[in-house]
Symmetry: C2
Subunit: 433 residues, 2 copies
């Protein structure tokens, strides 16, 4: 009976030790693993080895070229105002160019695009634009607050660069009132001169804003030595169970193996990685092999372009593979509440029905608008795109920062997420979609 099988899945997850050992290894022995780095390659080797130990039918690497950016020496940053020099906590945004020495400039603070548009080119020329719109604490979902502010990071350098600015500072995307800067990808476009882009900690941002109110002509100094190196060869790591009855129908569960270069990549997305291994382990160990084919996929480079996910979709299209559902866990690994599902009405209705099996585990809710970046390239190729939905109050406190470390996690929460994904995969593998 399915409910008994699912009970077993949860009990096995909650009593097992493998997931915790994996997470400790990935965060403490490997640590941060930005795409193109030696550590990213170590993560690939380790994940492949772990999958070989789990021993599904096949384990393989899928080659993909990925960007390779390095932060270099720790950033330096300070303001000079009324004869004082005050340090600012910043970090380069991922992909930023260097400052080539110490950059000095006046600062223009803006909170929105209209405000930027209202400034003349003369006012902006040679300045650093300081994007200081906070995430809105009134949002219940911190992800919504993030969506309301992330445009500053993703297009700030382009919009400021177009107007003649020589650098941008972006208020860190967090609701926690500390001074830890949070990185993330900056975007440049081919038609605009690239300018250095940094994230600034919340306390530093508030201090800078207050200092600007008193002294609009204060001088901001910034030194960043980051650099973009040639692309590197890297890999998605894939483990596969061949379906016994419908081998040409696929269900996948994924997470991203790369992380930012700060912290340990624990919540983003170490938790997802070890959950995927747990799902693969549990399905491999089941007495009865699945009727349909299953793939555990650890994508490379979600953080700066999702190259791994694009490559996976490209090959799936070329091989004309039929994907029933692609799942991803990339929401921090906190207590799961259910799933976000994109698919036809019929597909959503079917999954909603299955959610009844998960209600006893408090993870049976269903929401629209899945959030797995790595799933987007599969939009036309899979009947359902499904992301694990977790309690998100704590995620952006640590997201993309030095604070994303193992000690912030609760291992039972991660295990409950793994069991939820195993259970849903089990049902789709058995009944189709």
């Amino acid at each position: 009976m399915d409910s008994i099988e699912i009970r077993k899945i949860f009990e096995q997850a909650l009593t097992g030790e493998g997931l915790d050992n994996d997470l400790l290894y990935l965060t403490k022995k490997i640590g941060a693993r930005i795409s193109g780095s030696v550590n990213a390659q170590r993560a690939v080797n380790w994940a492949r080895k772990r999958m070989l130990e789990i021993a599904p039918d096949t384990v393989y690497l899928q080659e993909v070229a990925v960007p390779h950016w390095e932060r270099g020496a720790k950033e330096k940053s300070f303001i000079r105002t009324s004869g004082q020099q005050i340090a600012m906590n910043v970090c380069a945004l991922g992909g930023s160019i260097a400052t080539h020495g110490l950059l000095h400039a006046k600062v223009i603070e803006v909170k929105n695009w209209a405000q930027l548009a209202s400034l003349s080119d003369r006012e902006l020329k040679g300045k650093i634009v300081f994007f200081n719109r906070a995430m809105d604490p009134r949002e219940i979902e911190t992800y919504q607050a993030y969506l309301g502010a992330v445009d500053q990071r993703s297009k700030g350098a382009i919009e400021a660069g177009k107007r003649g600015a020589i650098g941008v500072l972006v208020r860190s995307l967090t609701l926690k009132e500390d001074d830890v800067p949070h990185t993330g990808a900056v975007t440049y476009d081919i038609n605009t001169k690239k300018i250095p882009a940094a994230a600034i900690g919340i306390k530093s941002a508030n201090l800078l804003s207050a200092a600007l109110a008193k002294d609009p002509n204060l001088i901001y100094s910034l030194k960043m030595e980051c650099k973009q190196l040639p692309d590197e060869k890297s890999y998605n790591v894939i483990g596969e169970l061949r379906g016994t009855t419908f081998p040409n129908e696929y269900v996948t569960v994924g997470a991203h193996l790369d992380s930012w270069d700060l912290g340990e990549g624990a919540a983003d997305d170490g938790t997802g990685v070890v959950q995927v291994l747990e799902v693969l382990q549990t399905l491999t160990n089941m007495e009865k092999r699945p009727e349909r084919s299953f793939r555990a996929i650890l994508y490379m480079n979600e953080e700066s372009g999702a190259h791994g996910a694009v490559q996976y979709a490209k090959e799936a299209r070329e091989k004309n593979e039929m994907h029933l559902a692609v799942l991803e866990s990339d929401a921090g690994g906190f207590t799961p509440r259910g799933f976000r599902v994109d698919g036809s009405l019929a597909v959503v209705r079917q999954i909603k029905k299955w959610m009844e099996f998960l209600v006893p585990y408090k993870t049976g809710e269903i929401f629209p608008n899945q959030r797995g970046i790595d799933l987007l390239p599969m939009k036309e190729l899979s009947k359902a795109l499904i992301s694990l939905e977790c309690d998100d109050q704590r995620f952006f406190d640590i997201h993309h920062s030095l604070a994303d470390t193992y000690d912030k996690l609760n291992i039972r929460e991660v295990k409950l997420g793994a069991a939820s994904m195993t259970s849903l995969s089990y049902l789709i593998l058995k009944y189709g979609l």
Copy 2:
């Protein structure tokens, strides 16, 4: 409109800073505050001052005599086996008697009552009984796992004492695999000789169990200098808003001001205390005063007998007060999911209906079996007993231990709980029950 009012309640909670300041003060400036202690009195004074600042209609202290137990010097504990001495991490259970010097004895490990019953008095006489039944990790709710193991702490000393044992060790009530001992109240009865009772950390417990398997005659040594002092005069701290239309109908929101003497009493129950202050503040600041009377109650001594709550109920009965609903927050202050409600079918149905207002905030679930210890004395005196229900994966990791500190909390989670309680109080105050 109620939905607009509730939206305001949440926005105010999520943007305010008072709750965080209160929690920092209570945990960092006051800290642990076991009943009868100087710190408990400091907490009373501080809470009264905070309520006077909030300035509802009345603020008063309700006198109550409470137990006063002190841990004394840090416990010492070790085993001697095969010529080795190995330290054990323990802490006295709250209310335990001292060992009066270093107690040495052989150890009998048991996992359940049947096992204890099967042993002869001769086998138990002069021994330390080691209750080593773990909380069951397969439970989804950690509280259920706690309920399945807490009997060892609450009646272990009585059952072992009756059989001639001279001490008990109880496996710490946590699912986290560390070595931090977790205290909590031990119970003695009047007919049985009291024996010293200690909690032992999980790793120490596992080590002891393994050592006993090899050497059943190993000697356990334990020194505890705790003592029971005379009862102290203490207080519940109460703030009251008088209802404009039905002043004789009461709704209360409470939490307990005392904590154990280890850690900072952050999750248990600092979060509840600051939530209660936030509810009082918000209701006091509302443009329209409530139709019914409201009380914010900070109970003294939930942890070793709920003397404050018993006193409150006694006076409520004497004054023949009509309580519509009594609420408590004592579940750690993590992300709220809704409420646990005890009451008539009609009452539960009405509250369930109101939960629709809380669904947008993800805190609109309703469950049976409320869990507020301080509410139990009001069982016959209130139409509804209601406890805030929170995500509980993290609670028992820190519960009653040195690890119950401010840094384990997420302030938005605490704020969401406060807003949930304010909202439900607002509805009951407006419409009755």
